[in-house]
């Protein structure tokens, strides 16, 4: 298992490097002066054109691309992400303020969707071809067919504006306890999670039906186990593995969706900041956010992958999956 873990982690490094390189190239093509992104605006205002040229030289901005990439990467690792060319604030500050909110949002959405997806997926598999199955199947297709933001707007209109159960806009951590901020989280997380929940439900149903046809489920019944134990202990546990593959696959979409949902609800996260940055042409900030969100999605996928590997002794104990023949 340790070997698997280590090799999985080692594989992350080249991935992150390549993503960061692509992002760096994007930065190269961005129509903005890199200098403005590297110097604090206070310092900049007191500089002459000659000073700036000298600065450029001393900062190595005229160096070959690969060298600059290396330097940029080292700076990133040190936590120095440069400055926003529009607002002039250090990007590190922006990130550390906003990234946690977004992670909180996506995590909540993941929880919501996993819970709902698994629950209804399992129910409709167990009661296949019943009314529950039929209704949830139809709702599932409708769910994956709705644009996230449309669900979001509808939810906003219904629960925040008409019913006033939740705040309509904005979110702030200041002065709010844990429960205070949950209020702002419920609608965005549910809207974001709904699409994934629908996809997950459809998938869980199929995975469960698949497992329920397996011989070992028959063995479990032949032992005289009660049905709930057959479902819970023998079927569900095995269907988790394919389900987690789907979650890993869909996770990037969830993170991408958070950008849209934050916009709908005016939720102050990194996603809505990303949009402002794009509209303002704040390329340095845009690319750093993209890089970070990609890394978050990468890490989360690996985490889920490892978690399921733990469930499967064939992976956990190493050796080939085929096992002893």
């Amino acid at each position: 298992m340790l070997k698997y873990f280590v090799s999985r982690m080692l594989m992350l490094i080249p991935m992150i490097l390549i993503i960061s390189f692509i992002v760096f190239i994007g930065l190269e093509f961005a129509p903005a002066d890199p200098l403005t992104a590297m110097i604090s605006p206070d310092q900049m205002s007191s500089m002459t054109l000659e000073d700036m040229e000298a600065m450029r030289e001393s900062l190595g901005l005229n160096a070959p691309m690969l060298v600059r990439y290396g330097r940029w990467l080292v700076n990133l690792l040190k936590g120095d992400m440069g400055f926003s060319i529009v607002t002039g604030t250090p990007i590190t500050n922006i990130i550390s303020n906003l990234l946690p909110s977004t992670i909180k949002l996506t995590f909540a959405a993941l929880l919501v969707s996993t819970f709902m997806g698994l629950l209804f997926g399992i129910l409709s598999a167990i009661k296949s071809n019943s009314a529950i199955d039929y209704i949830s199947s139809v709702l599932g297709v409708i769910g994956i067919s709705m644009p996230e933001f449309f669900i979001g707007i509808l939810a906003l209109l219904a629960f925040a504006i008409r019913l006033r159960w939740f705040p309509a806009q904005g979110r702030t951590d200041v002065g709010l306890g844990a429960f205070g901020s949950i209020k702002y989280l419920v609608l965005p997380a549910c809207s974001l999670g709904l699409v994934l929940a629908a996809a997950l439900m459809r998938y869980t149903r199929n995975a469960m039906l698949d497992v329920l046809n397996k011989d070992y489920v028959k063995t479990a019944r032949a032992k005289g186990l009660p049905e709930w134990k057959v479902y819970y202990k023998h079927a569900f546990r095995n269907s988790l593995m394919p389900i987690s593959v789907l979650i890993c696959l869909r996770l990037p979409m969830l993170i991408g969706g958070s950008v849209v949902i934050e916009q709908v609800f005016g939720y102050a996260g990194i996603g809505s900041r990303l949009l402002t940055a794009i509209n303002a042409g704040d390329y340095q900030l845009v690319l750093v956010i993209v890089l970070l969100l990609s890394i978050v999605s990468l890490l989360a996928s690996v985490f889920i992958d490892l978690l399921t590997a733990l469930l499967d002794p064939r992976v956990r104990l190493g050796g080939d999956i085929g096992g002893a023949k």
């Binding site: 090799s7 080692l10 594989m11 002893a324 023949k325």
Partner: protein
Amino acid sequence: MNNQNEARDVLLDLKNIKKYYPIQAGIFRKTVGHVKAVDDVSLYVKKGETLGLVGESGCGKTTLGKCIVRLHRPTSGELRYKFGNKYRNLLSLNKKESLDARKKIQMVFQDPYSSLNPVKNIFTAFDEPLKIHGWSNADERKDRIAELLESVNLRADYMYRYPNEFSGGQRQRICIARAMCVNPELIVCDEPVSALDVSIQAQVLNLMKDLQKELGLTYVFIAHDLSVVEYMSDRIAVMYLGKVVELASAKRLYYHFEHPYTEALLSAIPIPKIGGEKRQRIVLEGDVPSPANPPAGCRFHTRCHKSMDICKTQAPTFRPLKNDPDHMVACHLADTADA
């Protein structure tokens, strides 16, 4: 050797065929060992005979069969085949010769369900090989296909049907007809009836026997079921863990087996008869060892009921018996010519 081949009318001569698969591990796919699927097998097949290859799963019989058809390339060894009256190594042919050799050696596969492309009708399945092998006239091809289908007792107009419209037995007959469409001399039959129901097996086996007689075909017949192999074959080679351990005529093998593995195999097969002489049952212990890590010495010694000390260290060579040079055994106990 060549004279001997001529004398025996040998069609195909396998010399020291080895097929090793590398085992790769780690991120860099380093080769950490080899699965010795076929390990130094020498056999010959006479024209017009059926050579049976029998053994349990993983003994390398299918791999050997696929090496003969050149679906796998042996790691080392020679495959000498008689073209006209000249022997050529099948592994060193140029492109044109190779295509020509493909016409001579064909194969029938185990699973009739996966042997036919589900999205192509039978006509297409036959048409392309015919085209490649020089049947340029479309009408002639169609007549040929009709003729082939009729030769395996199927209606000619079945050629426009798709595989899923046929039962397993019919499919296997189609596969046999397909293998014959290029007029091969040698057909390697890899477990052709093991996927079929018992009542259908006999249809296919008899059909194969009839075709052999009619067309003078040579078969290499691979199966795990010794009774089927015995029914079909003139000579039988018993394989264990990549090696041939015994080779004898089908008639002789049942009563005059020499190798303890053959003995165990024979005694393990349930016979659908009651009464008669009581057979002595030998139940082998344990499982077949992994071909990636075969035991030293004689590969069978870990399960052999007659194992001796020498078996653990020294691998017996595959030699003819003293009193019957056509009967070959790889066992220290056998009374072989040079022992």
